[in-house]
């Protein structure tokens, strides 16, 4: 006596899988049709107006000058090179901006928890002020209210005889540009990495073997002395020297445009980052604080080894967004005459009239930079997650 029934075949229109697949296909077709409609419209209108799509204009002579450049650029060079100069200028702002924002944001975020009333009030005023005003206004403030009102080049302020401040910008001592300087720099980086590993090893043998760690400490001291010698003599510092006519020789010159853009972006984004840091620290259970204090850890070690690593897991995704915001906000440089990629592309667009190609190039550039940052931060994110069994 069998009670198992042979399953009857489900008709197609009642089969769940059929509908799921059908809707996915229809969705793809809809997206493709809409995209094709816009592209067709674009081609039709461009043909009507007589414009052609193509990137050959990048080889034509630029015929304009750029205010500051990391690679040599003259007005006879091609548009493609001008675009590259713009990209490098943007990267200069973005990279330094991200580093400084992190430092500022983390310090301010942690300072929020200070027991000192003055520190706490200063920090909360800073955050409220800089978060709630538009970034463009802040940039204009830094440029027109702060940097343009510094003394003119003839009456510039000299700090410690080597740092010069004027309404043109800052002039700092900087590394030389010879093979000795570059190899000293590489040597310093190699020493830093080696010192890190020696330090790890020292901690390890002190913890596992109960050794005194004296020998490795001496090694580290020796490395420190070598690093100091390399730093002072190997890097071949050049100092800014002003000749007649106020021309600058040697040293690093940071223009007022670059400084105001950098400071404006750093202070604005730093306020957001500090709030993210505060959120991260507050997300750590109160029990952790109490347990650490019960163990007798002082507040420095408490923050560094107990609280912050746990806070980091919460902080990294929003922090990624803030870095991406900083990179995109750097396109406001054109309002204060800093030649970043958007400003240079704007000039190219005006001279050639190729709006669509150039906007595509700008979008692709920002997209690429932001995707790289997001990728790196996601990698960092996965590395600080709790590894559960």
């Amino acid at each position: 006596m069998s009670t198992t029934k042979v399953p009857t075949k489900v008709p197609l229109w009642r089969d769940d899988r059929f509908w799921k697949i059908t809707f996915q296909i229809l969705a793809i077709i809809t997206v493709l049709v809409i995209a094709d409609f816009f592209l067709f419209n674009l081609r039709l209108n461009m043909a009507k107006r007589g414009s052609l799509f193509g990137f050959d204009f990048l080889g034509s002579q630029a015929s304009f000058d750029i205010g500051e450049y990391l690679i040599p650029f003259q007005s006879q060079d091609a548009y493609g090179r001008a675009f590259l100069v713009g990209v490098l200028n943007s990267l200069k702002v973005m990279i330094i901006g991200v580093i400084l924002t992190t430092i500022l944001g983390v310090s301010v975020g942690i300072a929020r928890f200070s027991n000192n009333w003055l520190v706490q009030k200063t920090v909360s005023t800073y955050v409220d002020l800089f978060r709630n005003t538009p970034i463009l206004l802040q940039l204009l403030f830094w440029y027109f209210a702060v940097f343009s009102n510094l003394p003119k080049i003839e009456n510039q302020i000299a700090v410690l005889g080597s740092f010069y401040i004027s309404n043109r910008g800052l002039a700092l001592p900087w590394l030389g540009d010879s093979p000795t300087a570059w190899s000293s720099l590489l040597g310093l980086i190699a020493l830093a990495i080696a010192a890190f590993f020696v330090w790890q090893q020292r901690i390890k043998i002190m913890v596992e073997q109960g050794a005194s760690g004296q020998n490795l400490l001496l090694v580290l001291l020796g490395m420190g002395v070598v690093a100091l010698i390399l730093f002072i003599f190997g890097l071949q510092w050049t100092f800014p020297v002003f000749t007649a006519g106020n021309k600058l020789n040697g040293g690093l010159s940071l223009s007022a445009e670059y400084c105001s853009l950098l400071l404006g972006l750093v202070f604005y984004t730093g306020a957001f980052v500090s709030e993210i840091v505060r959120a991260g620290i507050q997300s750590v259970a109160k029990g952790q604080w109490e347990a650490a204090k019960a163990l007798g850890l002082n507040s420095g070690i408490l923050m560094r080894l107990v609280i912050f690593p746990q806070a980091l897991r919460v902080m990294i995704p929003p922090l990624t967004s803030e870095y991406l915001n900083l990179c995109k906000n750097s396109s406001l440089a054109i309002a204060i005459a800093y030649p970043d990629v958007y400003a240079v592309s704007s000039t190219i667009l005006n001279q050639t009239g190729r709006a669509i190609e150039i906007v595509l190039m700008i979008m692709a550039t920002y997209l690429l930079i932001n995707l790289i940052i997001a990728l790196a931060m996601n990698f960092l994110n996965s590395s600080v997650q709790i590894k559960e069994r």
């Binding site: 209108n45 006879q76 309404n167 043109r168």
Partner: protein, 362 residues
């Protein structure tokens, strides 16, 4: 649940059908409004911008809005300037009412795109006539309204009296203009090492110059003269004598619309011709009674010059009554009747040593 699936399936099907058919149709309505100067207008006696403007009853003029003397809007919202007066002259010719104009402020970056898209009927925005713009951008420059040249304004207190003194210094310039190119060319020719500061809008450029961030600012000499009046201490600044380039400023329309381009062009020539014949806003009524056949033809008393263009036959009378002749327009906006006080120079009539020359109205 299953009922919803069927309904949901219908939506994307209709969307794709609509999109396919809309592909052909949607471009055309946008096309006719946007480019009556499109290729179809030339081949067939299709719609010209002239017909669109007349049926609309109002002229849409692209101007700058922040340039004293050429197109400037004051705090009450009133527009004034040479370019604005040209728009008013055109409106008077079309509608016998110089106030039937809608002005749109355009930055130097967006002006050509907005014109090409058809959001304005013409540009009267101190735009320089160059080969690249005339041929490569699909635009038509009708006739020069103002012969200008690029110059440099410097801060006298910084001790700069000639271009060579700018070596090692910064020069402020506005983006999107021929100015950047001319500046680069001139400085390269004279081998002067300078630093350009390129700003997005005119106000920021002159603000930076006024604050002393840059020692020089470069633009058309008429613009410099106009902006100088708005600086905090005009006597500290000087427009250098050097002329770095030719900048013929002309109204711009879109390519392939001869009927509209003709109307705009002959409005320019009306102003010049009236100046040549000595007809002013004050004496035009008297001149209507003149027996001189040249004047009779010009003012539409004889002949059909206006009607052949699609305008009322006495359009020249309407223009002169509304804004006066070229000399009056010039003096009122940038000459002795204004703060700018720029001498006419090469903008004088051809028989007076200048370049303003109108073909005969015949």
């Amino acid at each position: 649940m299953r009922k919803n699936h069927l309904l949901l399936a219908i939506v994307p099907i209709f969307a794709s059908l609509a999109a396919c058919s809309a592909t052909v149709n949607t471009t055309t309505p946008a096309g006719t409004a946007a480019s009556p100067g499109g290729k179809d207008a030339a081949s067939a006696p299709g719609k010209s911008r002239l017909d669109t403007v007349i049926s609309r009853g109002k002229l849409t003029c692209g101007v700058s809005g922040d340039l004293p003397g050429f197109s400037f809007v004051d705090q009450t919202g009133k527009y004034s300037g040479l370019d604005v007066d040209f728009c008013r002259a055109l409106a008077a010719a079309l509608f016998n009412d110089p106030e039937k104009v809608e002005y749109r402020n355009l930055t130097s970056k967006e002006r050509f795109e907005v014109l090409k898209a058809g959001d304005v009927d013409l540009l009267s925005r101190n735009s320089t006539w160059t080969t690249g713009r005339d041929t490569g951008l699909g635009l038509e420059f009708v006739a020069t309204m103002f012969y200008d040249g690029q110059g440099m304004m410097v801060n006298k207190t910084a001790g700069i009296t000639k271009l060579e003194d700018l070596a090692g210094k910064s020069v402020c310039v506005e983006t999107g203009t021929t100015t950047e190119l001319n500046l680069a060319d001139q400085m390269r020719k004279l081998n002067i090492d300078y630093k350009p500061l390129v700003f997005e809008n005119g106000d920021a450029t002159y603000a930076a110059y006024a604050q002393g961030r840059c020692e020089g600012v470069t633009s058309d000499r008429s613009q410099l003269a106009g902006r100088r009046t708005t600086l905090p201490k005009p006597e500290d600044h000087q427009v250098l004598e050097v002329v770095m380039s030719k900048e013929p400023l002309a109204p711009v329309v879109v390519n392939n619309d001869s009927r509209w381009a003709d109307v705009v062009k002959w409005t320019v020539f009306t102003l010049t011709n009236a100046d040549e014949l000595g007809i002013t806003a004050a004496n035009v009524d008297e001149k209507l009674k003149s027996t001189d056949p040249v004047i009779k033809r010009f003012l539409g008393v004889e002949g059909t010059l206006g009607k052949d263009m699609g305008l009322p036959n006495d359009f020249t009378v309407k223009i002169i009554k509304a804004v006066g002749n070229y000399g009056e327009v010039y003096e009122r906006n940038v000459g002795t009747g204004s703060k700018i006080n720029l001498p006419r120079g090469i903008n004088k009539l051809w028989n007076d040593g200048g370049l303003m020359y109108s073909p005969p109205f015949r």
